[in-house]
C-alpha cells in the first residue's frame, strides 16, 4: 500500500472514536407522539429510558429498557475504547470488538430509522455514527484484518 494511503488509513482509524463520541451527544431520533418535535441524542435516550424505568413497570418492560439503555450506552464505551486504542494499541481485542460494535449498532439504528421515516437524511448523531462505523469498517477491511484474527492475536485467546 502506498505511504499516502497508509497515512490516510491511520487518520481514518484515529477519527472513529472521537466521531462516535460526538455522535453520542448529537440527535439520533425524534420522539413519538407529543415528543415528535423533540430530538433525542444517545445521551438523552439513555436518560429518558432511565426516567421510564423509575416508573412501575413489568419485569419484561423493565428488562427491555435496561437492554436498550445498555446497548446505547455501549456506544459511548466503544467510542472511548476506540479513542484510547486506535493510536497505538490496535492489537488489543477491545479495539476490533468496540469498532465492530459501532458498525453493528449504526447499521441497526439506520435500519430502524429507515423503517420509521423512510429514505431521508438521518439526524446528525446517527449520520456521524454511521460515518464512524463506516470508517472503521473501511479501515479494517482495507488492511485485511478481521475481528477474529485480532482476538486470536491477544495473549490468552485461541
Amino acid at each position: 500500500m502506498a505511504a499516502g494511503w497508509r497515512r490516510g488509513l491511520e487518520l481514518t482509524r484515529l477519527g472513529v472514536g472521537p466521531l462516535a463520541l460526538a455522535a453520542f451527544f448529537l440527535p439520533w431520533a425524534h420522539g413519538p407522539g407529543p415528543l415528535s418535535a423533540t430530538e433525542f441524542s444517545g445521551y438523552r435516550l439513555v436518560g429518558y429510558a432511565g426516567r421510564l424505568q423509575a416508573l412501575d413497570l413489568s419485569i419484561g418492560e423493565g428488562a427491555a429498557l435496561w437492554l436498550a439503555r445498555l446497548l446505547i450506552l455501549a456506544v459511548a464505551v466503544a467510542a472511548t475504547w476506540q479513542t484510547l486504542l486506535a493510536p497505538r494499541h490496535r492489537s488489543h481485542p477491545a479495539y476490533p470488538l468496540s469498532g465492530w460494535y459501532l458498525v453493528a449498532l449504526a447499521a441497526i439504528a439506520l435500519g430502524i430509522g429507515l423503517a420509521r421515516a423512510g429514505l431521508v437524511v438521518p439526524p446528525p448523531g446517527l449520520l456521524l455514527l454511521a460515518i464512524a462505523g463506516g470508517l472503521f469498517a473501511v479501515g479494517e477491511l482495507w488492511s485485511g484484518r478481521r475481528a477474529p484474527t485480532a482476538l486470536a492475536e491477544f495473549p490468552g485467546a485461541g
Binding site: 420522539g31 413519538p32 407522539g33 407529543p34 415528543l35 415528535s36 418535535a37 423533540t38 433525542f40 445521551y43 438523552r44 439513555v46 436518560g47 429518558y48 429510558a49 432511565g50 426516567r51 421510564l52 424505568q53 423509575a54 416508573l55 412501575d56 439503555r69 450506552l73 455501549a74 459511548a76 464505551v77 472511548t80 475504547w81 484510547l84 486504542l85 494499541h89 492489537s91 488489543h92 477491545a94 492475536e153 491477544f154 495473549p155
Partner: protein, 524 residues
C-alpha cells in the same frame, strides 16, 4: 504481534481499557437519568415586584411529565401522550408546526399588581420557546400584526387582537399592555431587577422541590399593593387572627408527579409563631395503635402548649372579641361555662391534658360511612386524665357505667339516659376515647396485628411525602371510596377511584419555613 501486550503491560492496558469504559458508562448513566431541576429561565425576565408568578414545566420528556403520563394511564387514560397530540390536532393545530415551537422548557404568567379600584392588572406571558422565530410567526398568523415598533432596540409587534409580542433571545413575551412589555424588556437588559434575584423568591424556590409540573409564587404585598393592606379593617382582621405574617409574606406552591402519585408543596416565608409547637417535624407514634382499616387519621402534637402560647399573647384581643359577640365577659368565662356543662371547672382541663401527640381516627367496619367507629388517642398524664373523664361521666344524670377488660386493659363505657355511649381506656399511658367499638379495637390490637403504621398503603403514601411530617391527615382513599355510595362514582370516575390509594395533607415548620405539603398516591 507486538510483545507489549503480553505480560504486565497487557494486563495494565486491559485494566485501563476496562476502567475507562466503566467510568464513561457510569458517568453517562448517572448524569443522564438524574432528575434535573426545572430551570425557571422565565423568572429572569419577570420584574422583581411581580405579585403573582405561575410557571409551567413544558419539557414533555422530563421525568415529571413522564411520571404524569404514567399516572394518567393508571387513572384510566389509554394513551395520554397520544391523546394530547390528537387533541391539539383535532382543534386544528399541527403539533410539530404550531405547538412544539412553544415548548422550550418553561412558560410563565406573571401579574405585577392588581388595582381593585380600576379593575386592572399588569402582567405578561413569557415562554422559553423551542423555536422563538416560529412562535412569533404563529402569533402574527393567529392574532394578526397591526404594527411593528421598537423599545430600547427590541422590536415588538402590536397584535391586532390586542396585546404586544416580542422576542427576547430564546424567549417570547406576550403582554396585554405596552408598559408590561417594556418592563420585561428593561429586566432582560438589566435595567430593572428580576424576580429571579429576589431573596424571598430564591429562598422559596430552593426550599421547594426543584422538579415540578407547575410552580406558583405569590407576594400579597406586591400583588395587592397598598389598596387592601392599608385598609384598617383588613389590617386589623389579619392582625387579630394572628395570621398576618403568614398571609402577607411571600409564599410559593409546586405541583409535581412522581412514580407513586401526584404531590404538592407550599411554603411561606412567614413564621408560624405561636402555632409552631404543633408544626414541629416528627413521626407519629400513635399510628401504630390505630387499626389498619382506618380510613381517616389525623395527628397533631403539643395542643396544650400551643393553646397556652396563643392565649397568653392574645388574651386581651380574644376577651374583647368574646365580649362584643357573645354574652360572656371573657374567654375564661366562656371556657368555665362550657366546662361546667360536662362536670368540669373549665374546658381548659381537657385542653391541658393534651401535652403530647393527639390523634383522631375513623373507620367503617360495616363498609358504610353511616356507621363509623371513631377514636381519639392522646399521650396524656394517665391519672390526671382518668380523674377528668370520671368527673365528666359522673356529671351526666342517670349515667350507667360498665367496665370491661379488653386485651388486658380496662375499658369504661358510660351511657347516658338516652343510651348514647362514650367509652375510654388507657393503654401505655395513652388515652383512648371514642365509640365503644373503636376503643375496643384499639385496646385489643395485638403487637403482631396489622396497624395503620404497618399498612402498606399508609407507608407508601408517607414515603412519597416531599417534606417531613408535622401536623397531618391521612385519608385511605380506597377505604373511603369503598365505604361511600357507589352510585356517586360512575363511569370513568369509578375507574379513577379504583386507582386512588392514599392522600396526606401536612403542615410542618421545617428550617424556619412553614410548608403545606401533600401527596396523592395512585396504584396500578
Amino acid at each position: 504481534m507486538p510483545s507489549v501486550f503480553r505480560g504486565a503491560s497487557g494486563v495494565i492496558l486491559t485494566a485501563l481499557v476496562v476502567v475507562a469504559g466503566a467510568a464513561a458508562g457510569a458517568v453517562i448513566l448517572f448524569t443522564s437519568s438524574r432528575a434535573s431541576d426545572v430551570n425557571l429561565t422565565t423568572a429572569s425576565l419577570v420584574p422583581a415586584d411581580a405579585g403573582l408568578y405561575f410557571a409551567l414545566n413544558t419539557d414533555l420528556s422530563s421525568g415529571q411529565w413522564v411520571a404524569a403520563f404514567k399516572l394518567a394511564e393508571k387513572l384510566g387514560a389509554e394513551d395520554p401522550e397520544g391523546e394530547l397530540k390528537d387533541g391539539a390536532e383535532d382543534a386544528g393545530f399541527d403539533w410539530e408546526d404550531d405547538i412544539a415551537p412553544f415548548l422550550g422548557g418553561n412558560a410563565a404568567v406573571y401579574v405585577r399588581g392588581v388595582d381593585l379600584e380600576d379593575v386592572s392588572a399588569q402582567g405578561a406571558v413569557i415562554l422559553r420557546a423551542k423555536d422563538p422565530g416560529r412562535v412569533m410567526e404563529i402569533l402574527e398568523e393567529q392574532a394578526g400584526s397591526l404594527d411593528e415598533d421598537e423599545y430600547n432596540g427590541v422590536e415588538f409587534t402590536v397584535l391586532e387582537m390586542g396585546g404586544f409580542a416580542a422576542r427576547l433571545g430564546d424567549h417570547v413575551v406576550i403582554a396585554l399592555d405596552e408598559a408590561s412589555l417594556e418592563a420585561v424588556i428593561d429586566v432582560s437588559q438589566g435595567k430593572a431587577p428580576a424576580l429571579a434575584g429576589v431573596e424571598e423568591f430564591k429562598k422559596l424556590r430552593d426550599e421547594l422541590t426543584g422538579n415540578f409540573l407547575a410552580f406558583v409564587y405569590v407576594s400579597a404585598n406586591d400583588l395587592l399593593g397598598d389598596f387592601l393592606l392599608d385598609d384598617p379593617v383588613v389590617k386589623a382582621a389579619l392582625d387579630e387572627s394572628g395570621t398576618g405574617d403568614l398571609v402577607l409574606r411571600p409564599a410559593a406552591w409546586v405541583i409535581g408527579a412522581k412514580k407513586g402519585g401526584f404531590e404538592f408543596q407550599a411554603a411561606s416565608i412567614g413564621e408560624s409563631g405561636n402555632v409552631s409547637p404543633m408544626l414541629q417535624p416528627r413521626e407519629s407514634r400513635l399510628a401504630a395503635m390505630i387499626p389498619a382499616d382506618a380510613a381517616l387519621f389525623f395527628t397533631t402534637t403539643n395542643i396544650a402548649q400551643t393553646w397556652s402560647a396563643v392565649v397568653a399573647e392574645s388574651r386581651a384581643a380574644i376577651d374583647d372579641a368574646i365580649r362584643e359577640n357573645t354574652d360572656y365577659r371573657s374567654l375564661d368565662d366562656a371556657l368555665r361555662d362550657a366546662g361546667e356543662q360536662i362536670g368540669l371547672e373549665s374546658i381548659e382541663e381537657v385542653i391541658e391534658l393534651l401535652t403530647g401527640e393527639t390523634a383522631v381516627a375513623a373507620w367503617f367496619p360495616e363498609g358504610v360511612t353511616s356507621s363509623p367507629e371513631a377514636v381519639l388517642v392522646a399521650e396524656v398524664d394517665e391519672s390526671r386524665a382518668r380523674g377528668v373523664l370520671e368527673r365528666v361521666l359522673a356529671s351526666k344524670p342517670g349515667v350507667r357505667i360498665e367496665k370491661r377488660n379488653v386485651g388486658g386493659f380496662e375499658m369504661t363505657i358510660g351511657r347516658d339516659e338516652e343510651g348514647e355511649p362514650l367509652a375510654f381506656g388507657f393503654r401505655d399511658s395513652r388515652l383512648v376515647m371514642g365509640t365503644p367499638g373503636g376503643v375496643e379495637a384499639v385496646l385489643a390490637l395485638g403487637s403482631g396485628d396489622p396497624s395503620l403504621a404497618t399498612l402498606e398503603r399508609y407507608r407508601a403514601t408517607v414515603e412519597q411525602m416531599p417534606s417531613a411530617l408535622g401536623t397531618y391527615a391521612f385519608v385511605n382513599l380506597a377505604a373511603m371510596l369503598r365505604a361511600g355510595n357507589d352510585e356517586v362514582i360512575p363511569g370513568i370516575i369509578e375507574e379513577a377511584g379504583a386507582a386512588l390509594e392514599g392522600l396526606i395533607i401536612n403542615v410542618v415548620d421545617e428550617r424556619g419555613v412553614v410548608r403545606l405539603s401533600g401527596v396523592l398516591t395512585i396504584e396500578e
